[in-house]
Subunit: 250 residues, 2 copies
């Protein structure tokens, strides 16, 4: 008899090959599974809502795992954090129904992409922002970002290697704000294709540099042409903020 | 014939033994001197405005150095940043008078101390904040911080090892603000004793936890008694924001 437990996880992805267990380096999933094994003696597999890439961060990743042990789920953050490296923190643990699935039940996700926009790069923010040395036109970027909202075919917005059956996605909201030298772009959608947020961020950079028109997203949605979009922005600017369920994780 | 040059420097102090050249580990000063040597062939010594401790950060450290080379000072950020580790960035270089001294001419400094105030520690902010898991009384902390403003004898506010001739210091302003889970304390003064800002930050934490009264600073100023203050807060929450001269550095 086991209980399904939902974990909310924050991590600094700098030193990891990504969320998912893989051969070319340590993964967040692996570290959490190892800590669970040390804590409970059980060899378990955890499932995350988002398979973030190498270098990508999360402040609200959600995962589920089945545990037979007797540790109350609300004690798991304290118990696991004492075993985990300091760049991975469990923020919350709670019992959920046996049918709950962190990925398939996710109703939506919010990501954030941060751009450090100053002549010289930042020493302090180097792992958490992408650097753009030339001035960016924030207003043009915000107008372009707004054109993403709605249900569209985002076929042009994915890197090869994606496994999605359909490329229709709904973007609920986008937001762009400047905090000192940092531009913070937030996007909330029902789901995202492989590298979609980083392609959107790279396109926004190009719009901000006037290398692409403000209607670049609309054109790419209409034509399905990846070449109408900007480059895939680097991973370290990206952070998974939150996963939404019937009742929000966090 | 040499020119005196002023450098504005940002650094992530996590992996350094502090600003000043020393035996027990790499220092920021050493790294910048090494980059200058590689760039110009000259063995130079640079002087920083603030000798920040191990783990302490800066976004606006100021330093001066004498160079005989022909590289225009405004090109130094680009040239040095290509040689420096990515956790040290030169933001600005400018020619100054031969009498300019980064430390002795400093009219004031602004430091920032960041507290991450949430039950579980932060993975992303672990190198840039001190963690306080219990709820803090922001209002009491802000009221206590305000009592620091003015010219006082801060004899109680220093760690052993300080070399100051007088312990009179003037605090021009303090500010406390909450950004999500982060409490940001800013302090601007004419000069600071050894570990003074970290002792103030540790005392503010204790006031916020109701372990010390709101007039703890006043009592310690009046009596000179270090025991009336809180612990020295950990280094990673501290950042040197800015150094003020006749014309501000930055």
């Amino acid at each position: 008899m086991s209980d399904r437990v939902q974990l909310t996880i924050e991590y600094d992805g700098t030193h990891y090959a990504g969320w998912q267990r893989q051969l070319n380096g340590p993964s967040i999933q692996q570290e959490v599974e190892r800590a669970l094994h040390r804590l409970t003696g059980e060899r378990v597999s955890i499932t995350g809502a988002s398979r973030t890439d190498a270098g990508v961060h999360a402040v609200g990743q959600c995962a589920h795992v089945d545990l037979t042990g007797t540790i109350p789920p609300e004690r798991l953050p304290f118990a696991l954090n004492s075993l985990l490296p300091r760049d991975i923190r469990i923020l919350k643990g709670e019992r959920v129904g046996a049918a709950f699935h962190a990925r398939f039940n996710a109703r939506g996700k919010e990501y954030e992409y941060r751009i450090f926009n100053r002549r010289q790069p930042s020493a302090l923010r180097r792992h958490f922002t992408a650097h753009v040395p030339l001035p960016l036109d924030d207003a043009a970027m915000a107008r372009a970002a707004a054109t993403l909202v709605g249900t569209h075919d985002f076929a042009a917005f994915q890197a090869s290697g994606g496994t999605a059956k359909t490329t229709m996605r709904t973007i609920h909201a986008t937001h762009l704000t400047r905090q000192g030298d940092e531009l913070v772009f937030t996007i909330h959608g029902n789901a995202f294709l492989y590298n979609m947020v980083r392609i959107i961020a790279g396109t926004l950079m190009y719009v901000g540099l006037h290398k692409l028109p403000e209607d670049a997203f609309t054109q790419a949605i209409e034509t399905g042409d990846r070449l109408l979009l900007g480059p895939t922005a680097p991973p370290q600017g990206l952070c998974l903020n939150r996963v939404f369920y019937e009742a929000a994780c966090m």
